[in-house]
Symmetry: C2
Subunit: 379 residues, 2 copies
């Protein structure tokens, strides 16, 4: 129950461990096509270029910037946590002139400020932001920000590492141009792959580049030859075959449940967890209207030893919760309710274990009352 | 029995499918340390910076160039197949001024020509070449080339994707500065990771860079904080936890067998395969003294339909052999004997199946005689 990797189901682990076949084997090419379709469903898009990059989510971020940025391009990067800051760094290394738009930690990206920044500099051609900030547990209004990007003739780049499969996300309806995610959050697949999707406008820009991307490995003009249409696939690199078996299975599970049911489930168990945490006297750090149900950032109660609590939870209760990251280090915990790990049993286990450890440390709380409060939300 | 991914053992697949833990979990940090030690053994090095990059072998190549090259650095890139050509491309994108030294396909890199090129341009500071060319099945003399690099004050970058665990390789003794490999060849792990190792001289150069690497994801100055010494690890990206379980097991298997025994085994079964292929009237494309035992490149007999044979082998005999790549496309097959797949049973199965299909296509050969010829080499 940390900020990811989340619990991986037995079904996904079993798929992962099937015998490895060649990355150009006809049966594998069929599986690749199915992965593309299932990813289109998860992203809610018809984008042809919807594939998993053969590396973790951070490489998905780099894929977006290294392919869409040409040296000197102006990019507006919104920063309301660690991952917005990482976007700035990656965009700069790709050669962008970055305008950083900073927000307080724990707050969402403000569309009004995005609009003002775009009006102030008409040369900006890329708008980048994080949909679900894993460092703070904040959801930003991706639909509004992408609409502004379109109005100002900008491409949008969206970090959906922690949002895909956990909260409302609609790539085509919202007009997102480039989006990346990870497999180890709400998809509950093993870590190591980065699903990405690109609009036709983004693909056109990639195809029309005046110079090559700095990265050969992430160059979509080459990667498209392997993941493209038809049976004939051009070898680019050796695909991580087994990890793709696992992703296929994880996406199948999401499809079976249905996207909206998955979003609803995350919301339901989040409500139960919040009720229980409230009963324990633990404060949420993020306002209710912009909270991520899948990642709950809470204030560490005064006088409580951060590391000692997390260590006790891990050693005695086999429970991982996340430390604070960046500005929140030492002040916050991050409790994940992601994908396969987002269920009632985990909510109750967390409240019970956390309440027990906190009470031992002198915090005034009643674990039994917390689980009762959580239980009441399911009624 | 293609050019990789090779057969993955049940032991490795079982390790792969263990439950995912957090990438900062204390138990995982212990496993990371063991992986580093086991990789040091496999590479025969004491290099502290010996780790698996969280992406396939091509990303290992990119890691070497993106970290060691600064814009304008002169690099000598030796090309005797597809992967030397890829090195040139990756080096150029990293900003190097590349001098390409080309050799015929099927021939080794000639150290005398490397020496002449280094003498001709004293500004060259990097020498890059492929130890085991997967596109041709050729072994180059890494020891001699790296010695020349040292004499001329150059760093050496060595592609060991297909050599690690299959043939003699000694990073420290040969004075290799930067080396990368893949997991899916002679280590017989699943594809998706790139073991790399860097000498102190290379690390010093990386630490002393005047500008940042273009890639944030592959920036070793950051990655070192996660894979570095001690219990305290700085989060960089979410490591591919399950793939690392598998690599740990694959390296353990190699350690149990012993490196020299593994090299010997590859040589032994290669000799058997060659005897059988000779009996079938199939010619090796590479001279015996520079042949890779783990990757056997053979001429497709005249009048034989390349695709039809490979398709029949796959569909009727559950056997993959590799197509020719690059200049060898349509003219050659590549028969892998890698890692776990390098055994007598596979040699016999391949000779029998290939002989049967070729005979059906009108090629004059006797599958039974081929297996008898192979069998005789084991005596």
């Amino acid at each position: 129950m940390g900020p990811g990797p989340s619990d991986v189901s037995e079904r996904v682990l079993k798929a992962l461990s099937q015998q490895t076949v060649g990355h150009l084997d006809p049966s594998f090419v069929t599986l690749m096509d199915e992965i593309k379709s299932l990813l289109q469903y998860a992203f809610q898009t018809k984008n042809e270029l919807t594939i998993p990059v053969s590396a973790p989510g951070s490489a998905g971020m780099e894929t977006c910037f290294m392919n869409l940025v040409e040296p000197g391009d102006k990019a507006l990067v919104c920063i309301n946590g660690v991952f917005g800051g990482r976007m700035k760094e990656v965009a700069s290394r790709a050669g962008a002139k970055v305008t950083a738009l900073e927000f307080e930690w724990g707050e969402a990206v403000d569309p009004a400020k995005v609009e003002a920044a775009l009006k102030a500099d008409p040369d900006i051609s890329i708008v980048a932001f994080v949909h679900a900030e894993t460092s703070t547990g904040v959801r930003s209004d991706a639909k509004a920000i992408c609409a502004l990007a379109q109005q100002h003739n900008c491409l949008s780049i969206v970090d959906a590492v922690t949002s895909l499969g956990g909260i409302d996300l609609n790539v085509d309806e919202w007009g997102i141009d480039a989006i990346y995610s990870g497999t180890q959050k709400c998809l509950s697949c093993t870590p190591g792959l980065a699903p990405v999707s690109f609009s036709q406008k983004a693909v056109d820009r990639i195809k029309a580049r005046s110079g090559k991307s700095d990265s050969w490995f992430l160059d979509l003009n080459l990667v498209m030859g392997y993941w493209g249409e038809g049976v004939k696939r051009a070898y680019h690199h050796t695909a991580p075959v087994n990890s793709l078996y696992a992703l296929h299975e994880a996406l199948l599970i999401l499809h079976e449940e249905g996207l909206e049911n998955a979003w609803q489930r995350h919301s339901q168990h989040h409500n139960a967890l919040v009720a229980g945490l409230d009963s324990l006297g633990i404060k949420m750090l993020v306002d209710a209207d912009i909270r991520l149900p899948e990642l709950n950032t809470v204030a560490i109660p005064e006088g409580i030893d951060d590391a000692a609590v997390r260590s006790a939870l891990l050693q005695r209760f086999d429970l991982e919760i996340g430390a604070g990251l960046g500005k929140f280090a030492g002040n916050a915990w991050r409790i994940g309710l992601m994908g396969n790990g987002c269920n009632k049993q985990n909510v109750m286990h967390c409240l019970s274990a956390l309440g027990t450890v906190l009470a031992e440390q002198g915090h005034d709380c009643d674990p039994a009352a917390a689980t009762t409060a959580a239980e009441a939300t399911y009624a």
